[in-house]
């Protein structure tokens, strides 16, 4: 009974994973014949000064968006774990950004941040009416903000689930011992959420490697190449410049970085009990 799922997953998941490694040693323009190319693509890509830049931007967005999303999601998760009715309503509203496609979100923010016709111009607020997507650092900041806007709701729900599973007796015992709210948060909530934090961080970090549609529609990698992350780099080399070989090299790098990060985060977890879920 597992065979149909296995078959389609192997054909469109496992075979391409091996295939991309093979393609990284070939020359192909996306239409014509595929020819062996030895190590030339690897040499081209690894010596291309564009690569360190894409890597840097990718990690910059990964780390900064993690640093923005984690504390806010954690706080929101703790807050939402309360059982009051209005919090349930808030949780419903929080989820809405996750229902929009990245394309829709990118288009919306592009219009909102337009220096001439967007929010800043409409409200006559000069600080909002900047050329947000036209300056390197502002564009990077916008990408991180929009990513957080889209995904904090999801992670706050994960944390909400985690918080609800912490035994209340721990808090009762702590308050008998005279621990205050802040002390309880750092001595009980955070340690108890260790696996939730690791799961959520893994999803954030590995997921950030796949930000493509959002950045593609929002900035197309610009201005210049200020937001040209690896996934975008791969698309541009492969499907715009028709250099599938070098693009495959980038794809292999994406897989390796993703796996390395997932393993690193799992090791940080230092336990096997939650390993099944950490796979996510």
């Amino acid at each position: 009974m597992a065979l149909p799922a296995l078959a389609i997953f192997v054909v469109f998941g496992v075979v391409p994973l091996v295939g991309v490694l093979l393609l990284s040693f070939t020359q192909w323009d996306g239409l014509g014949a595929i020819n062996a190319a030895g190590l030339s693509n690897w040499r081209t890509v690894l010596s291309d000064p564009g690569l360190p830049h894409s890597l840097f931007v990718t990690f910059e967005i990964m780390i900064l968006s993690w640093a923005v999303q984690t504390p806010i999601s954690l706080l929101l998760g703790v807050f939402l774990a309360g059982r009051q009715r209005y919090r349930a309503v808030l949780a419903v509203l929080y989820f809405v950004p996750l229902l929009l496609s990245s394309a829709a979100i990118a288009i919306t923010y592009k219009a909102l941040l337009d220096p001439n016709f967007g929010l800043g111009a409409g409200l006559h607020l000069d600080f909002l009416a900047q050329d947000w997507l036209g300056r390197d650092h502002l564009a990077l900041g916008v990408v991180i903000f929009v990513v957080s806007w889209q995904f904090i709701p999801f992670h706050s729900l994960i944390y909400q689930g985690g918080v609800r599973q912490i035994p209340t007796t721990l808090y009762e015992a702590a308050s008998i011992d005279g621990a205050g709210r802040i002390r309880q948060f750092f001595s009980i909530t955070v340690p108890q959420l260790k696996y939730t934090i690791i799961t959520s961080s893994t999803l954030m970090v590995v997921g950030s490697l796949t930000f493509f549609d959002l950045i593609f529609v929002l900035t197309a990698g610009g201005p210049g190449d200020a937001t040209r992350v690896l996934a975008l780099d791969m698309y541009k080399r492969g499907f715009q410049a028709n250099l599938m070989g070098p693009a495959s090299v980038i794809a292999v790098l994406l897989v390796l970085i993703g796996l390395a990060l997932a393993l690193l985060l799992r090791r940080l977890g230092g336990s096997t009990t939650a390993s099944q879920q950490e796979g996510a």
């Binding site: 075979v15 929101l76 509203l93 496609s101 990245s102 808090y171 993703g258």
Partner: protein
């Protein structure tokens, strides 16, 4: 003992975040009912002075219905088979626990959770061309099914494991086959998880951008997110019309969410943070 648990920091963050979430959403909806003059001159947050459905008419009278239908076909065509085969696989994995083959299959699916779709897109493109499926809706559907499987199997195995063994045993004593148990016992008990993975995968496919971008070419094969992107270029001066199309592409998924919310949230919790 009753604890007084005030959480000012969390509360403030919570309400602040609500504002941050709602401002753009409110702005999209309000602006989509403004005419262009009103959009450019009015306060962005003011209700339309002269509400108009002209933008919606413009969008609906374009090729939008076709894109909408394409998205429906791709989404339904993905989740129905994906959930069915993932359910069968999850059932086999739980019931055949201990078998090395099934353990290996399960491990492969779990590993699949870490494979980014982007990284495999070039060989998938090659595969689709060789299968002569390029520029068809099936070209989007097949890889979408494959990439729905890992998470579906993870969530479904978690649920099927919770079905008490005794129930299976008593059905077996009554002479039920594996298929019978799958249909009459596991299926009804796993319904919330099936709804969860259907909505979750449906959401991903409905909003998918990369596969349609790379695996299709002609305008009549466009799905909604891709259509939005091209709309944006086409109507770049008519922002309200673009926003109306954003509303129209999101509306069906909001309705679906309203219907299946409880299962979705409980299923996600079960899948991620146990």
């Amino acid at each position: 003992m009753r604890l007084i648990r005030r959480n000012w920091l969390g509360g403030t963050t919570g309400w602040l975040w609500l504002v941050i979430v709602l401002i753009p959403l409110y702005w999209i909806v309000v602006s989509s009912f403004k005419d262009q003059a009103g959009f450019f001159t009015q306060n962005p947050f003011a209700l339309p002075a002269d509400p108009t459905i002209e933008n919606y008419r413009l969008v609906i009278e374009s090729d939008f219905p076709r894109y909408f239908l394409n998205s429906v076909i791709v989404t339904a065509g993905t989740i129905l088979p994906a959930v069915a085969i993932a359910f069968m696989a999850a059932y086999a994995i739980v019931r055949g626990a201990g078998g090395r083959f099934l353990a290996g299959v399960n491990g492969l699916f779990l590993m699949g959770l870490a494979i980014p779709l982007q990284a495999t897109i070039i060989p998938v493109y090659l595969l689709i061309i060789r299968m002569q499926l390029y520029d068809s809706l099936l070209a989007i559907i097949l890889p979408s099914i494959a990439f729905s499987i890992p998470l579906s199997v993870l969530v479904l195995t978690n649920f099927i494991r919770d079905v008490p063994k005794e129930l299976f045993e008593s059905m077996r004593v009554d002479g039920a086959t594996e298929w019978g148990m799958l249909r009459k016992l596991a299926l009804p008990l796993t319904r919330p998880a099936l709804v969860t993975v259907s909505i979750y995968n449906g959401l991903g496919v409905w909003n998918g951008f990369l596969l349609p971008l790379i695996l299709t070419q002609s305008p009549e094969k466009r799905t909604l997110p891709l259509a939005l992107w091209t709309f944006q270029g086409q109507y770049s001066v008519n922002v309200p019309a673009v926003l109306a199309s954003v509303v129209l592409t999101t509306l069906p998924i909001v309705v679906l969410y309203a219907l299946g919310r409880r299962q979705l949230l409980s299923g996600l919790t079960a899948g991620f943070s146990r």
